[in-house]
Amino acid sequence: MIKSVRSLMFMLMALSLLLAACGAPSAPVEPTAKPEPVVVESTAVAPAANPLAMYAPDAVTGDVTTAGSSTVFPLSERMAELFQQEGYTGNVTVDSIGTGAGFERFCKTGETDISNASRKIKDAELANCKALATPREPISFRVGTDALTIVVSAENNFVTALTKEQLGKIFTAQYTKWNQVDPSFPAETILVYGPGADSGTFDYFNEVVVAPLYPDAAGKADIVAGKAALLGAAGAQFSEDDNVLVQGVEGSKYAIGYFGFAYFNENKGKLKSVAVEGVEPSQATVDDGTYPISRPLFLYSDAKIMQEKPQVAAFIYFYLNNVDKEIVDVGYFPAPDADLKASMDAWKIAVGK
C-alpha cells in the first residue's frame, strides 16, 4: 500500500510537469516580414554596396547594449530579433527601464551603447554625457511615432471621449470619482494607473496634458508642479513596466491608464481606447496631426561608439532601413519620411561615410 501511494505521488508530479510543459505558451512572436537583403542603396553614395558591406548583420561581431523607454522596447526587440535572423552572431540586449533611466545608463554611467527614448534628451542629461570620462555627444535617430493612448477596461461602458483638461484632473486626483468628471457617469472611485517618473511616457503626459493645468507666475506650463501633482495623486499605481499597467486597467471597470499605442494594440480585446479632444488614435489621425498626444520615438547613440563598435552602427543602420516594415505590426506609426532620411544622413555623418 505504501509503495502504491509513493508511486502515485511520483506519477502526479511527473504529470503536472508534463502538463505545464505542454500548456506553456508557444515560442516568441515570429516576425511577419520575410528576411530582406540588408545592403540597401542610399541616395547619397553611388557605388552603394561596397563601403556599407561592413555593416551587414553577418559581417559584424560583438554585442550591442541598449536600454531605455518601455514604449520603444517592443520595437527595438523586434528589430533585434530580425537583426539576429539576418546572420548577426552577437547579442542585442534591450532593457525596458524608462527613458529617464535609459539616459542615466547612457550618460551617467556609460553602460549602454544605444539609448531608447520616447522623448527628446534633456539639457541636464546632455550635460551628464559631456561630463563622462570619455565624453559622449548623443545623436538622435528618429525611428517612429507613438500615439499615447488613454485606456479603460473593455467593460467600461460610459467613457468614450475626454478632454485634455479632464484627463489632467483625473490623473492628478483632482477628480476622485467618475461622476465628478461627468454627472452621467457612475459615482465610483477612479482607479488610476500610470508610468512612474523614470518613464518618457510620464514626462510627455506631464508636459502636454498636466503641466498646462499648473501655469507658473509667467503663465507658462510648470513642469515641476505638474510632476508633483501627478506623483502625489493619492492611490495612483505607478510602474515603469507597461504590462503591470495593462493588468491593472483590465481588472476593473473603473480603472484608467495611459501608455504607448503598441500595448493597447496588443490587448485590444480587454481594453478600450478613449478619444482625446474628440479624436481617436489611429494611423490617419497621427499622420495628419489631429491626434493631440502623439510623440516621436528615438534612438540615441554617439559617433565614437558607432565607429569603435561597428556592430552598433550596423544595428542602427538595419533599424533605420527596416523599421517602416515592422512598426505598424508592432503597434506604432511610421515617422515622417523626411525625419527618417534625416536620421539616415545623421548616421552616415556619424560613421564618417
Binding site: 500500500m1 505504501i2 501511494v5 509513493r6 505521488m9 508530479m13 527601464i97 524608462g98 529617464g100 533611466a101 535609459g102 542615466e104 545608463r105 551617467k108 465610483e188 482607479l191 512612474g196 517618473a197 523614470d198 510632476k227 508633483a228 506623483l231 502625489g232 493619492a234 492611490g235 495612483a236 499605481q237 505607478f238 510602474s239 515603469e240 503591470v244 493588468q247 491593472g248 483590465e250 481588472g251 476593473s252 471597470k253 473603473y254 480603472a255
Partner: protein, 302 residues
C-alpha cells in the same frame, strides 16, 4: 616536591578547531553588524537631508521622495497588514497540519503528506506571486465582488504568503510536538482525557516554545518577502487599512524603485536604505515581542 601542573594540556589541533568554530560563530554577529552599518551609513545621509524630519518620516502618510514627501507609514502599514494576513492563514493551518502529522496520522498518511509539504516549500516565490495575481485575486473577486477587490490588493498577496510559510511553520511545529515526552501524553490518557483534549491541552502547551520559534521565523519570512508582494500587492504606496485595496509594501517598493536607475547621491537612492533600515527594525521589534510572549508562557508550563 614538584609543583603539580593540573592545567589542561594544550593540544594544537584542538585549539585550532576551537578558534575556527569561534570564528564561524562570530561571523554571524559580524555580518549582522556589517549589514546594520551599511544600512545606517546611507540612511544617515537620508536623515541628514534638511527636507527630511522625523516628524515627516513617522507622521505623514504619503511616500514620494522625488517630490519631497517622506511619510513611511503607508509602506509600514501595508507590510504589517500583509504579514498579519499571512500569519493569520498559516499559523492555524500549520498547527493543524503539525498536530495531524504528530498525533493522528498513520505512518502511511505521514509518508504521503510530508513530500507534498516539501514540494510546497520548494515552489519559487515568483510563481507564488503570479499564483496570487492570476488565481487568488479572481477568486476573491468572485467571493467579495469585483468592486470591493482591486486587481492588485494586499489580501491575495497575504493569503498566498501564508501558503508559502505554511510548510515552514508546520515542519517546525511538528518537530516541537514530537519532542514532547510520551510520559505527558500517557499521563493525560491515564487521567481519562480524549486524544483531542490531550493534544490541545497537554501536548500543545508543552511544545509552545518550539511553536513560538516557528512563529518568529514565519513572521520574519513574511515581513521580508519581496516577490509575492511586488507582483500582487500593488505598485504605489497607499495608506489604507482595507486589505482589498492596492498598497505597496516596503520590500515591494525597494524592488520596484531599484529596478529603475537612480543616481548615487539622490534622495531616492538614500531613501531606499532608510526603508531597508526600517524593515530591519520592524523585524527586530516583532522578534523581541514574540520572544517575551513565549518566555512568559514557558514559565507556566515547565
Amino acid at each position: 616536591m614538584n609543583q603539580l601542573d593540573l592545567s589542561k594540556k594544550t593540544r594544537i589541533g584542538e585549539s585550532v578547531i576551537q578558534t575556527l568554530l569561534f570564528i564561524a560563530g562570530f561571523l554571524s554577529i559580524f555580518i549582522t553588524v556589517a549589514i546594520v552599518y551599511e544600512l545606517g551609513k546611507e540612511a544617515w545621509l537620508f536623515f541628514g537631508n534638511p527636507d527630511v524630519t522625523f516628524a515627516k518620516f513617522f507622521g505623514t502618510t504619503t511616500w514620494q521622495p522625488s517630490i519631497g514627501q517622506f511619510g513611511i507609514l503607508p509602506l509600514v502599514t501595508s507590510t504589517l497588514i500583509t504579514s498579519f494576513i499571512a500569519i493569520f492563514v498559516s499559523l492555524p493551518l500549520g498547527l493543524a497540519v503539525a498536530l495531524f502529522l504528530s498525533e493522528y496520522a498513520s505512518p502511511k498518511a505521514r509518508s504521503a503528506l510530508k513530500p507534498v509539504l516539501e514540494i510546497l516549500a520548494g515552489i519559487p516565490t515568483v510563481v507564488y506571486g503570479y499564483f496570487a495575481l492570476l488565481f487568488m485575486t479572481p477568486l476573491l473577486q468572485k467571493i467579495f465582488g469585483e468592486q470591493t477587490v482591486e486587481v492588485y490588493n494586499m489580501a491575495s498577496a497575504g493569503i498566498v504568503m501564508g501558503i508559502m510559510i505554511l510548510p515552514l511553520i508546520s515542519s517546525m511545529s511538528e518537530d516541537a510536538l514530537s519532542a514532547v515526552p510520551r510520559a505527558l501524553r500517557e499521563g493525560a490518557y491515564a487521567m481519562g482525557a480524549t486524544k483531542f483534549e490531550t493534544s490541545i491541552q497537554v501536548v500543545l502547551p508543552a511544545a509552545l516554545s518550539g511553536i513560538g520559534a516557528a512563529l518568529i521565523i514565519g513572521i520574519s519570512r513574511a515581513v521580508g518577502e519581496t516577490m509575492i508582494v511586488a507582483i500582487a500587492a500593488g505598485s504605489g504606496p497607499n495608506f489604507t487599512f482595507n486589505p482589498f485595496k492596492a498598497a505597496e509594501t516596503m520590500t515591494g517598493h525597494i524592488a520596484r524603485i531599484s529596478g529603475g536607475d537612480l543616481s548615487y547621491n539622490s534622495i531616492d537612492y538614500t531613501s531606499l536604505f532608510a526603508i531597508a533600515l526600517m524593515l530591519f527594525l520592524v523585524t527586530l521589534v516583532l522578534n523581541l515581542i514574540s520572544q517575551t510572549v513565549i518566555n512568559r508562557f514557558r514559565q507556566r508550563y515547565e
